[in-house]
């Protein structure tokens, strides 16, 4: 039998003679997520070979060669993000998202994600700054994969909609029962009228400044759903032409491991 998944089947010619578990009820899979899932296979190879190549050769390459590889790496990361956002949107629509929460030490977790954006920030001469809280309880109960998508989407936006030579400050604010993470940029900002719609599916601001950036308008939608699933909130403060701060709160895991579905 085929694999018992609600994802796309990828092996067309699985043989039938081996008895597998039959407790499967494949949920209907839409075309978009089937395609998105298929894209992961070549993308995994591409990113795998690229990462090994960069690890092994970065030191001996010319600056131009390094730049070429760095851009290939960035482009393949963008493609991965797009694929993940498509898959996540489809999962949300089909109601098949479940959380896999675990206890996470928030500060190092966020920092690790943040530093991975150094190359992309450098491309646009954007400075990254990370501000850690000095005290407080920062253990959270989160689904690492989902929350990584949230943080990555916010940082990606802060780079995409920033100005060349701008800055991004990621700061973590610890409150009694929650931790608030802020991603602040010095970018194009968002007009008041648009701010209420940002988290809607497919919504993108139509203006000349944002117009040049590609996107599907799914990043913030997915982020909002994931944050809400964790019993948190996500919001924005922004001023046109000055910059934006996207923030989200998550409950601390002191007494609430009740994060489910």
């Amino acid at each position: 039998m085929d694999q018992p998944t609600n994802q796309a089947p990828t092996k067309a010619n699985q043989s039938t003679q081996v008895a597998l578990d039959q407790n499967q009820t494949p949920a209907p899979v839409d075309f978009v997520s089937m395609v998105a899932h298929e894209l992961k296979t070549p993308l995994t190879s591409l990113r795998g070979y690229l990462s090994v190549f960069i690890e092994e050769n970065a030191k001996s390459m010319t600056p131009e060669q390094n730049m070429f590889l760095s851009r290939m790496d960035i482009a393949s990361t963008q493609l991965s993000t797009l694929v993940e956002n498509l898959l996540n949107t489809s999962r949300i629509e089909r109601g098949v998202i479940t959380l896999n929460p675990e206890v996470v030490e928030w500060v190092p977790f966020v920092k690790t994600i943040f530093v991975e954006f150094e190359n992309r920030a450098k491309e646009r001469k954007i400075e990254l700054e990370f501000i850690e809280p000095t005290t407080g309880f920062t253990k959270l109960m989160v689904d690492k994969l989902r929350i990584t998508e949230v943080i990555s989407n916010l940082i990606t936006n802060a780079i995409t909609y920033n100005k060349e030579g701008g800055k991004i400050i990621l700061s973590i604010e610890v409150k009694d029962n929650e931790v608030v993470t802020h991603v602040q940029d010095t970018g194009i900002g968002i007009a008041k009228e648009a701010q209420g719609k940002l988290f809607e599916k497919y919504y993108r601001v139509q203006n000349s400044a944002a117009g040049r950036a590609n996107g599907t308008g799914l990043g913030l939608y997915v982020s909002k759903v994931f944050v809400q699933m964790h019993k948190g909130k996500i919001w924005v403060n922004s001023e046109s032409d000055k910059g934006s701060t996207f923030s989200f709160s998550l409950p601390v895991a002191r007494d609430v491991p009740s994060v489910q579905k």
């Binding site: 694999q3 018992p4 998944t5 609600n6 994802q7 089947p9 990828t10 092996k11 010619n13 699985q14 043989s15 081996v18 597998l20 578990d21 899932h37 992961k40 296979t41 993308l43 995994t44 190879s45 990113r47 795998g48 070979y49 990462s51 090994v52 690890e55 092994e56 050769n57 030191k59 001996s60 991965s80 898959l87 479940t98 959380l99 896999n100 994969l145």
Partner: protein, 150 residues
């Protein structure tokens, strides 16, 4: 059967020509046998090359049946298997490992792009030690995990 020597891996393997066929370099992981079952040849080669660079002895198979046969003939210290495979899927392979006296102690790692909590639970329930997402982990990272399971 397992010596306590674990490979000391750094996150940045020394540059070296990928040599699929050459015998393993004398690294810390020398001698440890890893069976990789993966039907995508690009991915399989990638993990094979990385594991060899880290000093593992590598056996490969491109489907479940072949993998099980090779494991029985030459029991590995670690199994890295894809989830969706022709002939026998990753979960069934792990089950067979766990029910075979000569293989039951071998750690089994599932590697897949299927992000599915139900599948993951099922895999862990039948005895897999880890459920790893391919696209989220560089090949070096994956191979670096081996030492935790041998």
């Amino acid at each position: 059967m397992d010596e306590p020597t674990t490979p000391t891996l750094t996150s940045n393997p020394v540059s070296q020509q990928p040599s699929v066929t050459s015998s393993a370099e004398p690294k810390a992981a020398t001698g440890k046998k890893v069976l990789i079952i993966e039907d995508d040849v690009f991915i399989r080669d990638l993990y094979e090359m990385q594991a060899k660079k880290m000093g593992y002895q590598v056996i490969t198979a491109d489907n479940g049946e072949e993998g099980i046969n090779k494991a029985k003939a030459n029991p590995p210290d670690l199994l890295l298997t894809d989830l969706m495979l022709p002939k026998l899927d990753g979960i069934s392979i792990v089950k067979m490992f766990k029910s075979d006296p000569t293989l039951s102690k071998t750690s089994c790692l599932i590697i897949t792009n299927l992000e599915d909590a139900t599948k993951e639970k099922e895999a862990l329930a039948v005895g897999a030690s880890a459920y790893i997402l391919k696209i989220k982990n560089t090949p070096s990272k994956v191979v670096e995990m081996f030492k935790n399971y041998i």
